[in-house]
């Protein structure tokens, strides 16, 4: 802690008192926005504090943060990649740029922070401020300054000037929280990059999380391929954390628990760790959170972990010995499924035998849960692609009838229940009607654009121009005959 304290600009009065941990730690949690991660210090404090205070402690999840580069759950090769880049770019006085992408919770930010700590580099991070002032007299909100201007000022200053109290010479600018204005107008972002390239003297790292939906994908929309080329942005893609990586990270956490926090955690069993690994889908952050929740000793009532864990058997066909592993149902991440994936699950339904009764491996209700927000587009995809999977017209009849029902229900968009039921009818109808599926590779096609193009009155000079023509009448009455009449005039 002492190290940290010397660097602070001023010392709040309550900071002198080492015995006032809750207040102090809150303060610290807020001030960490522009600071390096110093988890070791916190841990030492934590051990002194009693249980109850600890539970209300704001940064309780920081105590399991990795301390050294070796603690990271990421593959060594990736870490080396990033390390090499940091070494290269921090040694020169140029404004190199790095883009890190990967799914949420795969340790992108942690890697940067750990490596910076290892090489004694100061990381300055941009946090988008709240830019609305108190409403003025006539009740309108005023904006102080454009977000993009602020952002540019910040990163340039952060890149070029060292703090007076800093003994570091190496700096790194980190941007994870992109101001919204750039998402609306990417050209502004290009301008900022131009300025940065010209004037800044430190490297910058951009971190973007991949998302399934295209509209929210910052990496995709901001860092287009041409932009990456123009500014020579180095791009490193992280994968989600492997099972072994998760396991070793959680093992480290459980060691930490047994050493320091035995007073308010149960020591996690290896079964429990396995559960957490299975339910977190490669997300280290959610894995640690889940473990925290599962191991917590109840402070008031005794929260038994067994009540939380619901076992779900999952057979792994690849192994000789049928190994069952369990998974939290109430905890853990949702497995998001892309639309193409969902289409595949519906059109190639797999039936598994379970206690002598047949069961679909993906229940229709599980599938529709993923697509409740956009039911009609999913149904359109299904309708476009279901035919090649069927071999008998009788089954198609049932399926088409189900789709027709579904469309009828989906048309009532004011009722949420109709949307849900409509989607269910379509999904279940398609899954159950196909008794003799064709097993062949069928590429998934997008729904056809059904924009109706009526003939325009201008195409036919013979028409009375001062008459208001209806599109459908032009299409079904006039079109043929005007071609015949027009051809001979």
């Amino acid at each position: 802690m002492s190290n940290k304290k010397e660097r602070m600009w001023f010392k709040p009065t309550f900071d002198f008192d080492q015995c006032d941990p809750p207040k102090k730690s809150k303060e610290q949690a807020i001030s960490t926005s522009v600071s390096t991660t110093v988890s070791t210090d916190k841990e030492s404090i934590h051990s002194k504090i009693n249980n109850i205070n600890n539970i209300h402690h704001k940064s309780w999840m920081k105590k399991f943060d990795p301390v050294t580069v070796q603690d990271l759950a990421i593959h060594n090769k990736k870490v080396q990649d990033v390390e090499e880049w940091i070494n290269d770019s921090c040694s020169s006085n140029h404004s190199h740029m790095l883009l890190l992408t990967g799914p949420v919770g795969c340790g992108k930010t942690a890697t940067i922070h750990m490596l910076a700590k290892k090489h004694n580099i100061k990381v300055t991070e941009w946090i988008t401020p709240i830019d609305i002032e108190i409403p003025s007299e006539n009740g309108e909100f005023e904006f102080r300054e454009k977000q993009s201007t602020k952002f540019m000022d910040f990163i340039l200053k952060a890149a070029n000037f060292t703090s007076l109290l800093d003994d570091n010479t190496k700096k790194l600018v980190l941007v994870e929280d992109f101001p919204n204005t750039f998402l609306r107008s990417p050209s502004e972002f290009t301008e900022v990059l131009h300025q940065y390239k010209r004037r800044a003297k430190s490297p910058v790292v951009f971190i973007c999380s991949d998302t399934h939906t295209d509209s929210k994908n910052t990496a995709g929309s901001l860092f287009t391929f041409s932009l990456q080329e123009e500014f020579e942005i180095h791009h490193i893609v992280f994968n989600s954390v492997s099972v072994t990586g998760l396991r070793s990270a959680l093992k480290r956490v459980s060691e930490l628990i047994s050493k320091k926090y035995i007073s308010f955690y149960d020591i996690p069993t290896s079964d429990m760790i396995e559960c957490v690994v299975n339910s977190s889908a490669g997300d280290i952050r959610s894995a640690v959170l889940n473990l925290h929740f599962a191991c917590l000793k109840g402070s008031k009532c005794d929260l038994e972990t067994s009540s939380v864990i619901i076992k779900e058997t999952k057979s792994k066909a690849s192994k000789k010995k049928k190994q069952t592993s369990s998974k939290f149902l109430s905890l853990g991440k949702d497995q998001t499924v892309s639309i193409l994936h969902g289409v595949g699950r519906v059109l190639n339904p797999k039936v598994i035998m379970d206690n002598n009764c047949q069961r679909l491996s993906y229940a229709p209700s599980d599938v529709i849960e993923q697509f409740l927000s956009h039911p009609s587009s999913f149904v359109n995809f299904l309708a476009e692609n279901y035919l090649p999977h069927f071999s008998s017209i009788d089954h198609v009849d049932k399926a088409a009838s189900a789709l027709s029902d579904a469309d009828f229900m989906l048309a009532e968009w004011r009722e949420k229940i109709c949307q849900e039921n409509g989607l269910y009818v379509a999904v279940a109808g398609l899954m159950l009607s196909n008794k003799a599926p064709v097993s062949a590779w069928n590429p998934v096609r997008g729904p056809k654009n059904m924009k109706i193009i009526y003939p325009s009155p201008r195409e036919f000079p013979a028409l009375d121009q001062n008459y208001l023509h209806k599109g459908r009448v032009l299409a079904i009455d006039y079109k043929t005959y005007l071609h015949i009449i027009g051809s001979n005039v």
């Binding site: 359109n380 035919l387 989906l410 009455d477 043929t480 015949i484």
Partner: protein, 355 residues
Amino acid sequence: MSLWVDKHRPKDLMKLDYHKEQAGRLKNLVQQSDFPHLLVYGPSGAGKKTRIMCLLRELYGSGVERLRQETMNFTTPSNKKIEIMTVSSNYHIEVNPTDVGIHDRVVIMDLVKNVAQTHQIDSSGQREFKVVILNEVDDLTKDAQHALRRTMEKYVATCRLILIANSISRVIPAIRSRCLTIRVPAPTENEIASVLHVVCKKEGLNLPSELAMRIAKCSGRNLRRALLMCEACKVQQYPFTSDQKVPEPDWQLFIKETASMILSEQSPKKLGEVRQKLYELIIHGVPPDVVFSGLLCELVKNCDMAMKCQVASHAATYEHRMRLGNKAIFHLEAFVAKFMAIYKKFMEESLGDVF
């Protein structure tokens, strides 16, 4: 040169070729200087618009024939700019609100408001109200129809609405009760034939009555189509012969082709091909209900009585669902699949009987 349909359109209520009694009543209606909102309905090509224009001429004089086209701009609440074509004279304005799809409510409200707020300049012998003609009212969204209901009452002093629809079953009862509903039935085949004779006489052509009857039959009691067919016949071959070919609309041929595809093979693969055909029809602006009835007519030709009944009942079910749903193609496809299943079973059974 203009088309026969436009050239020989009657301009006076008394010169109409059929439904003469109704024409007389309409004349009486406007002679009392005022009339209620009208809802004119009837099948396509029966002469709804012709009657309305005659009515307006009776009301305002020949001034209504000086038409001009205008593009009007509207802004939706979500700040989307939409534009729509209108045709208007000094006394009336006509618009197809369905051209703008789901934004029809905005068009109706703003348009009627605009028209109703500007009073007629008071010159002698003119009415103190303007007329707004709205086409395809039955295809309006429910929202727009409810908006219409309010507007109709609010601006009744300064404007009259004339609504045109194919069927009133999809017009909400609130509107139906606020309007005088006038049905314009389709002309009979004989009436169409006599109109064709009159037109040909005016053009100085000699039309054999057999050909006139055949055109009338082909047209499906749609006078506009009949006149266009007749003119097309003249272009293809003149002097007329009584056995000459009457050109059919191309979409009808396309539907026939599709129907024969359905009858040739009943398999999911064939259904996939049929679907492409249906897509094409819909994209080119053929209304799905026309596709439905066209397919049904072609398909039942190959069925025995018991099956006919079954197929027609299924067609009705799916057609009804299509009206309530969003994607016409789903229901068309479901109908085709249903027919294929029934037809296949039928074929297999009849083959089984042979052996």
